[in-house]
Amino acid sequence: MNDFTIEGSGASGTLVSDFNTVKESCGRNGQPKYLASPVIAWLTKVVVGYGGGANKDTPLYELCHLIFALNILNDGVSVTDRRMEFFLGFEQATANNYKNYFTSILSNANHSQKLVQIKEAGIDIHHEGGEFFISYKRMAFLSSLFEFLLTMNGFSHFETFNDLFNTLSPLGAQNISTDMRLIQDASNKISSILRTYRRENLPRAQHDAKFDKLFRFIQQGNSGNQIAIDDGMVLKFWQSHSFLEEYRIYKTVFDSFIILLKSLDEAALQKSIGESSHLGTDIENEEVDPDDQVSSITDFTEWHSPFTILDIEPIADIKFFKQKNERQPIEQLMYYGPYAYKLPLAFIRTEAFGIVQNGISNDLRLSKSPEKIADRIKCDKARNYLEITDSYQLILDHINQLQLATLHVLNQSWGSDVKTETKDDEDNIITLLDQKPLSKFEQARGFQSPIDLNKEKLRDTIEASHQAFKSFTRSGFTEEFAGNSDNIEAFRLAAGALVQMEKILNNFLHTPIALEFRQAINLDLFNKDKELFSDQFTTIYGAAE
């Protein structure tokens, strides 16, 4: 979501091509094999050497365990064939597909059951080094990694990795080494190949220089033991550095600050977990003994736009948002999520003036007339901050209606209205237990425990949800559609995304700066910024007169 082009940023065409090959992989039904979020988003992190939590090699270690488990299975199929079938054969990488695969194979391969055991959520792998658990959900992520490794450098590593993966089989009791050591060695070999690949394809000089400039700038503006980053700093940095090609675009500067904030947050988190090192138990060589619960620490909680959830089939069949008026105005806010309200004014400036600057860049690229460019530079067509936040408020209201409509679908799916418990009638309070619809909705919203609600209020809510559902005359909002079990599941999943959206919009609208200009209902701040941006555009692109 930035203004870089891939080549312009120095990323090797090989890496981008390798990565896109996996990202764009589709089944015959035209649906992507791997979900953009969270699977491809996770793969991106692993590819750039940032996925794996405390140890960036953890995903490789998990993958080697999974391959070890597959190699153990013995039903007459060659290990290479089985790997291809498992990692490449499914048109969609879903937990259910992997679960069915293991269930089906292990029911026919009795002797393997001691070494690989099926559990409800995944498989337990038993080897001399102990036990290792991999969830079915995790297998979708590891499949994307497997496919990427074999795709690297235009598929040139296929034979190397295939031979390496073939070695991942139980060694037997007579062997001096251990299965654990075997898996660790394989992980380290893959890690070494991946490091070389990154070195060749992800040059770091450009980003190092960018970091140093930003960090020096921030340090200069601070004293004492703390550094403070605020909206004004983003603007000042842009004003003082926009003569440089890489900082000409305000939104690029904003993006760089967001990455810096994430880096500072992440560094603190990394430090608390521990330092990265090789997997193994050779302490003299600074190897670490990996925990068998590594999957739990490999995915930092991070933000992904809720729209990525709503875009997944079959949720995408439900028209929660109309593109132009309901989705597009909050697309960027949802993309940045919590980071948008960490720097709220800097963000709203991208919404108002980033679009103007994008228009100027396009005009220049298309050699439009100087008059037209000069007209844009005046920023007269920029949406003011009240308009922008008014549209957020309208969409927030729309989301509240969508939540009610979703509640109606979930309520209907449990078959009846909410029942009250007799013992609570006296104080007019009812307890919603797990199987009650509103409680289910609240669970989908992220609440873990049942809630107490006033009975009348609850009835009103249920009635309002029915009305809200009826008020929508768009795809997905018919009783017939909402009665289908797959579609109910789609509404249930969408409920979580809608709650995230509500939270982001609410938090943004309640930032001090947004409250200030919305309560005052004045455009002083916007008008001041308009003049400032217009002046800076004039400096960058030429006279506006």
Binding site: E147, N222, Q226, D230, K271
Partner: protein, 183 residues
């Protein structure tokens, strides 16, 4: 305003590393926006093509032939998953008809048609129960990949094809430098 403790000198290197990784992550993530499609086939797509496509797709075959690494994968995937494998020299060693070749669990016979002397019967007989039946025959000759052929339905372990005696299919089957795989 967001406040952070000033990082120590050693920590700055770690933050710089993270900044570098996140910058690349941003760029790879944004490749969606640039509409740059790789135009390349993924290994999953090729594997599923081998496994399920009943009709050869010339575009896919062409893409595979254009990349030696992809071609190696394609050949490996076919050879690993084939039901019948006919390595070089096993295909045929003479131009005389009829001839029969035996492999593990299969027999190949090519014989002249009595009714049409220019036609031959190509008969694959599978000696063990195979389910699902092979649906395609793939050939490899040196580093070339001739097109694959669709196979007719199998009846009681027998796949029978009527072909022109001078057809490419017959030529390839009778060429000792050709490897053939049924799957």
């Amino acid at each position: 305003m967001i406040n952070y403790e000033i990082p120590k000198k050693d920590d700055i290197d770690s933050i710089r590393d993270t900044f570098n990784s996140l910058s690349w992550e941003e760029i790879l993530g944004s490749s969606n926006d640039t509409k740059q499609k790789s135009g390349s086939l993924s290994l999953s797509e090729i594997y599923n093509y081998i496994k399920t496509a009943s009709i050869p797709d010339e575009n896919i075959e062409k893409t595979i032939r254009s990349n030696i690494n992809l071609w190696k994968f394609y050949k490996r995937a076919i050879s690993e998953t084939a039901i019948i494998r006919m390595p070089e020299a096993m295909a045929a060693s003479s131009q005389e008809l009829p001839f029969t070749r035996h492999g593990k669990d299969w027999t190949l016979t090519i014989e002249l048609s009595r009714a049409e002397p220019q036609q031959v019967y190509i008969i694959f007989k599978l000696l063990k129960n195979i389910n699902p039946a092979p649906s395609s025959i793939f050939f490899f000759k040196n580093d070339q990949t001739p097109p694959r052929w669709e196979l007719p339905e199998m009846h009681e372990g027998v796949i029978q094809i009527i072909s022109d005696r001078n057809s490419d299919l017959v030529k390839l089957l009778m060429d000792p430098k050709t490897e053939a795989y049924l799957r």
